[in-house]
């Protein structure tokens, strides 16, 4: 079981690097979808054999929403907004990956000295969760398009979810469903916002939204 958890976490980290390195929007969306599915599997695998109906259904729901529903919404928003298929980052892909490697080092270091109330299923869980959060932050900072911002936000949420799997194995079902609903509504609203931005400005480059400011430049 522990091997399975470790393998899932390694794949989680690898999808993080894939997000940083790939130049295609479609590949990024797919990577986030895979992350969502992996997290669902992780939540089941981390229960260590003590399976309950709720304990299986809830991760499966989350995996379905994050792996299929949200990507579908984003792809639709992308199609509606007529975006180019390139990611167009503010810094190069190689630099992104190197920053990612540094982030991985930081999260491993952090994961080793962070005191936790209970023992996580794997020593890699906390570093992987931190790393996924950091990848989300890096994506939010270095990518300029609105769609990639949504992807960064989703990755960040995935990281938080993984961290939840590390420290709180039995989260109340209502809280978890609520978070899932929040994320879903968030992405839904962002999809609509992207559509409107692209209709208003003919592009979804967030850098140019500065022009909306009242300040006379």
């Amino acid at each position: 079981m522990k091997q399975l958890v470790n393998a899932i976490l390694v794949f989680l980290v690898l999808t993080g690097f894939l997000l940083l390195a790939s130049s295609r929007l479609a590949a990024c969306i797919r990577a986030v979808a895979i992350q969502g599915i992996l997290l669902g599997l992780l939540a089941i695998a981390a229960q260590d054999g003590k399976l309950s109906v709720v304990g299986v259904l809830l991760p499966l729901t989350s995996a379905a929403v994050k792996g299929f529903l949200l990507p579908w919404l984003i792809v639709r928003a992308m199609r509606d907004a007529d975006t180019a298929r390139e990611v167009e980052p503010l810094i190069g892909y190689n630099l992104s990956v190197i920053i990612g490697a540094v982030a991985l080092g930081v999260s491993v270091w952090l994961g080793q000295r962070l005191p936790l109330p209970n023992q996580p299923a794997s020593f890699l869980l906390v570093p992987a969760a931190f790393f996924t959060c950091l990848v989300g932050l890096i994506l939010l900072i270095t990518r300029s398009k609105a769609i990639t911002q949504v992807l960064g936000y989703l990755t960040l949420e995935n990281g938080v979810y993984a961290f939840g799997a590390a420290v709180a194995l039995e989260m109340p079902i209502l809280v978890e469903l609520g978070i899932l609903l929040d994320v879903f509504v968030g992405v839904f609203v962002m999809g609509i916002a992207i559509f409107h931005i692209s209709r208003q400005f003919d592009h979804i480059d967030t850098g140019r939204l500065v022009a909306l400011s009242d300040r006379v430049s």
């Binding site: 091997q3 470790n6 393998a7 976490l9 390694v10 980290v13 690898l14 690097f17 390195a21 892909y93 190689n94 990956v97 190197i98 990612g100 490697a101 991985l104 080092g105 491993v108 020593f123 890699l124 570093p127």
Partner: protein, 291 residues
């Protein structure tokens, strides 16, 4: 060591079958070596002794490196603690002299190839080192022989992700160092697109035979490390273990041939990305075994 050029034959045969051709004989590499050895060497007047030293040093360091490498059930000829660093540096020494010899000819093509080789190997080397470090950490020893011997089925049960990542990282290094397709096309005829081949354009006769044999040995070396991790066989019967390892090597050659047939050469800019990915894979393996 005798089998080393045979690997290239297997790769070429795989590529030929994938392309629908009959392909050259499996032993073509040996015929090439024999043909080259019987010829005389031509030296350009602009070259110095460095040019003639290049192939000799290259072959010598490859032979030294293969003395450090175990195969199957047979331990290395001369193992000592820390020989994995030695092996990496022997590879680097051979590369350094190939590059010097290439620069010595004064040909602009060769200088270009040398610059590419340096750029890519500078990225391939950290990946190799991190992969070996992860392996050393996992097995708790610093000598290739004892390191590769202690990789076993039970270790795979315990640390499959780390070993898998190490293999993936070393696999990319294997392709890059041996100038195989995603990085460099060994069959290209255009000097501008070559990396490794272009550096040895001016070598001829026995010198070229030495270079080719050294290249075959290098492929065998890196391949043997990968196979020792991927196919750990400790049946107790030396012949059986060796058989397994040789089967593994042939399998690796077939996989390389399939990769070459199914992929195009990457753009030079993308190669750095591939190698950085290899560094990340090996680094992740190292992070995994830290606990």
């Amino acid at each position: 060591m005798v089998l080393a050029p045979f690997l290239q034959g297997v790769i070429n045969r795989t590529k030929a079958i994938a392309a629908g051709r009959v392909g050259q004989p499996l032993l073509q590499a040996y015929h090439d070596l024999w043909k080259l050895l019987r010829k005389g060497a031509v030296y350009s007047q602009t070259t110095t002794w460095i040019f003639q030293t290049g192939p000799v040093v290259g072959l010598a360091s490859m032979i030294c490196a293969s003395a450090l490498l175990p195969f199957g059930a047979f331990p290395a000829l001369a193992p000592f603690t820390g020989d994995l660093v030695m092996i990496a540096y022997l590879l680097a020494l051979a590369r350094f002299f190939t590059i010097l010899a290439a620069l010595d000819t004064g040909s602009s093509f060769e200088a270009m190839g040398a610059s590419r080789e340096v750029a890519f190997s500078a990225l391939a080397e950290p990946a190799l080192f991190l992969g070996l470090a992860a392996l050393a950490r996992q097995t708790g020893s610093l000598s290739l022989t004892s390191m590769l011997e202690s990789v076993s089925g039970t270790m795979w049960m315990r640390a499959a992700p780390a070993l898998g990542l190490t293999i993936a990282g070393l696999g990319v290094v294997f392709l890059a160092e041996n100038a195989r397709i995603p990085v460099d096309d060994p069959a290209t005829h255009l000097e501008l697109t070559m990396i490794h081949e272009v550096m040895v354009l001016d070598h001829s006769g026995p010198d070229f035979a030495m270079i080719q044999y050294a290249a075959a040995l290098k492929m065998w070396l890196l391949g043997a490390v990968i196979i020792a991790i991927a196919v750990p066989s400790h049946a107790g019967n030396p012949l059986l273990d060796c058989g397994f390892s040789i089967m593994g090597m042939l399998g690796l050659a077939v996989i390389t041939g399939i990769v070459e047939s199914s992929m195009a050469r990457l753009r030079l800019l993308r190669v750095t990305q591939l190698l950085i990915a290899a560094i990340v894979l090996s680094g992740l393996a190292l992070a995994l075994v830290q606990r």
